[in-house]
Amino acid sequence: MTKRLVVILGLFVTAVALLAASAAQAGHRSVKVTNVTFAGWSSGPDEDALDTQMANAFNRTVGAKEGVHVTWQVINGDYGQAMTARFAAHNAPDVFYVDSSVIGSWIKQGVIQPLNGYVTKSHFDTKAFYPKLLGAFEKGKTIYGFPKDWSPLATETNNALLAQAGVKAPRTWAQLKSDAQAIQQKTSAKHPICLSADWARMGAFMYQNGGSITNNLTSSANAQAVNFYVGLIKSGLAYTPPAGSWCGQELGQGHAAIIFEGNWLLPYMKSTYPNTHYGVAPMVHNKKQGNLAFTVSWSIAKNDKNKAAAWKVLSWLVGKQGEKIWMSKGLALSPRKDVPSIGGRKPFLAAAPYAHGWGFGNPNFASAYTVMGNDLNAVIAGSKTTQQMLADVGKALKGK
C-alpha cells in the first residue's frame, strides 16, 4: 500500500514538474522581443567598441526587462549619402546619429521623428541637458533628437614656444595678437597662429564680437570679426594649414604655437604626437564669450516601424546610464549636466552655456557652407570683400 502511494506521489510530482516547466517555457515564448538597430559612423575602433559596449549594456539591463534587443551597426563611407538612400528606401536604422549641421535639412525633408510625444509619455527629463545643445536639435519647441555628445572650440598652445616667448595662453583678442607678435619675434615660429579658412572656426570669433550667424549677418560686429580673423592671416601672425594638413597636425609638428580646435584634438595628440607638450585654455573672447558647439544627436526615423522600442533605446542611450558609459573613454563631452566628462575638459565645458550648435538648424546649411568656405578663401586671397562674402552667405542661408 505504502509502495503504491509512493509511486502515485512520485508520478504526481513528476507530472507537476513537467507541467510547470512547460508553462514556464510557454511563458518565456510569449515575451515578444523587438529587435532595434542603432547606427552611426565610426571615427575609429575605440568608438566602435564603445557603441558595442553600449548595446551589450542595454541588452543586459533594460533590454532584457522590456523585451528589446539592440544591435549596433556601423555605416561606413559617406554617412549622409548612405542615410539618404536608406531614408528613400524606408529602411533607415531605428535609432541613428544626426550631425547638428544636417538636422535642419533632414527635418525639412520630413525624415526625422518628432520626439515630444515620447518625452511627455515617459516623463523623460529634458532639463538635464545643456539647453544650447538640446536647442541644436529643436525646431521651435519640437525636439528631433537628443545630443549624445559634443565639443566646442578651445585655445590650444605649444608650451615650449609660449615659454620661449615668455607669454601665457591668450584669453582675449588683444592678448592673442600681442602673444603672437612676441612668439614671432622670439621663436622660430614665424606665423605663430594656425587658422583654418573655415567658418567652423571663424564663426566663434563672430559670436565673440557680439555678432551672429543666424541674425543680421552683414552687421558691423560680424564684419569686424571677419576682418580681425583674416587680418591675422594677412599680417603674417597667422597662417592657414597647407593642403593635406590641419591645425592639430601643425601644433603637433611644432609649426603652430596657437590653434583653436575641439576635444577631438586630445586623443589625436596622444596617439600621433605624444611628445609634443601642449596646453588647453578656454577659447579667446572679445566683447563677450562666444563659441560653436559641434554636436551629434540620437534620433529616430519618421518612417520607423519600431518607434516605441526605438524610443526605449534612445532614451537609455542619452539617459544617465547610457551617457556614463559613453563618457567613460573621453572621446567627447557629456551633453548632460548630471553626467561628468572625464578630467581635463574644463576649458571645453566652460563653453556649454554660450556655444551655438553648428548648423543652427538651418535647412540650407549644406549649400551655405560651400559658399562660406569658398568665399572666405576669396577674402583671404583678396579677390572678394568681407561685405560681399557676408552678403553671399546670408543669401545662401536663406536658400537663394
Binding site: D78, F87, K108, G110, G244, H255, N377
Partner: protein, 307 residues
C-alpha cells in the same frame, strides 16, 4: 526519277526546317541578350528616364516636396553662377588634360614599341599608375607636393601646390595626366603594332628621316586611336570627381571654387541640399553637353578617321 512534286515537297520541308532553325537561333540569341539588356534597362535606361522625369518636379528624399511641374529646375541651373564656374573649370581641365594624356601616352607607347632592353619592365612601370588606386595616389601626391613636402624640399619652392587656387587646377591636371597615361599608352601601342611594316620599309627605301616618318606615316595612321582616345578620355575627364573630392576634403570646390566641377554641383544638390529635382536637371544638362560634344567629335575627327 524525282518528280517536280517531290522536289517541291523536299524544298518546302527544307524551308520549314530552315525557318525553324532560324527561329531557334533567334530564340537563343534573344535569350542570351535578354540578361544584359534587362540589366542595362534596369540599372541604366530606367534611372536615366526617371532622372529626366524628376527633373521637372521639386523632389526630395521621400519624393515630391512641393506642388508644381515645369522647367524651373533647369532655369535654376542655368542661372546658378556656381554651375557656370564649374563648367568653366571642367572645360579648362579637359582641354588641358586630354591632349597631355594623349601626348604622354603616345610618347610612352613609342618608347616601349622599340626593341629596347628591359622593355617589359618599362611597360609594367608605365602602366602601374593606371591600375593603382586613385585614392592612394592622390594621398601620396598630396604629401609629396604639400608645402613642407619632398618636392618643395628638393627644388627649393615654398608653394602649397594643392592649397592654392592658382596652382591646384594644374596639380590635378598633371596628376591625372600621369595616372591615365598608362592606359592611353596601351591603346596607342595596340594601334602602333597594327601599322604594317611595309609602309616603314618603303619610307626607309626613300631615306625618310625618323621625324618625317613619324609625322607623315605613324601619326596619320594612328587616327582611329586618336579618335578613340579623344572620345573615351574626353568623356572620362568631364566626369572628374574623386581626386578633387579627396584634395578639397569634399565637394566644396575649395579653395575659392577652383576645384568646383559639374559633378560636384550635382552631388551637392543631391546630397547637400537634398534637392534631387535640381540635381537631376543639372545631370540632364550635363549629359546633353557631353553627348553634344561627342557628336561634334564624331562629325569632325571621326569623319576624318572614317575617310
Amino acid at each position: 526519277m524525282v518528280t517536280p512534286t517531290a522536289t517541291r515537297a523536299a524544298q518546302s520541308r527544307f524551308n520549314t526546317s530552315l525557318r525553324g532553325a532560324r527561329a531557334r537561333e533567334a530564340g537563343w540569341g534573344f535569350g542570351f541578350a535578354f540578361v544584359p539588356l534587362a540589366v542595362l534597362g534596369l540599372f541604366f535606361i530606367y534611372p536615366l528616364g526617371y532622372a529626366v522625369y524628376i527633373s521637372f518636379f521639386h523632389w526630395g528624399i521621400l519624393g515630391k516636396t512641393a506642388p508644381g511641374t515645369g522647367t524651373f529646375n533647369y532655369a535654376k541651373v542655368f542661372h546658378d553662377p556656381i554651375f557656370g564656374t564649374a563648367l568653366k573649370n571642367i572645360a579648362e581641365y579637359t582641354f588641358a588634360v586630354v591632349p597631355l594624356e594623349m601626348t604622354l601616352g603616345l610618347s610612352l607607347a613609342l618608347v616601349i614599341n622599340q626593341k629596347i632592353r628591359g622593355r617589359n619592365f618599362f611597360r609594367s612601370a608605365f602602366y602601374f599608375p593606371s591600375i593603382a588606386s586613385s585614392v592612394a595616389i592622390t594621398t601620396i601626391i598630396l604629401y609629396i607636393f604639400s608645402q613642407n613636402g619632398l618636392f618643395n624640399h628638393l627644388f627649393g619652392f615654398s608653394t602649397d601646390w594643392f592649397g592654392n587656387a592658382s596652382t591646384i587646377g594644374w596639380g590635378i591636371v598633371s596628376m591625372n595626366a600621369w595616372t591615365t597615361s598608362g592606359t592611353v599608352m596601351l591603346f596607342y601601342l595596340a594601334a602602333l603594332q597594327a601599322i604594317p611594316d611595309d609602309v616603314y620599309e618603303a619610307a626607309a627605301l626613300d631615306n625618310t628621316s625618323a621625324w618625317r616618318t613619324f609625322w607623315k606615316i605613324t601619326f596619320p595612321l594612328l587616327r582611329p586611336a586618336h579618335f578613340f582616345c579623344l572620345v573615351v578620355f574626353g568623356i572620362g575627364a568631364l566626369k572628374l570627381f574623386d581626386q578633387p573630392f579627396l584634395i578639397a576634403k569634399g565637394a566644396s570646390g575649395a579653395p575659392n571654387y577652383s576645384t568646383m566641377y559639374p559633378s560636384f554641383t550635382i552631388y551637392n544638390a543631391a546630397f547637400g541640399s537634398y534637392d534631387f529635382g535640381l540635381a537631376a536637371a543639372a545631370g540632364v544638362i550635363y549629359f546633353v553637353l557631353i553627348f553634344g560634344l561627342t557628336v561634334v567629335q564624331r562629325l569632325t575627327v571621326g569623319r576624318q578617321e572614317a575617310a
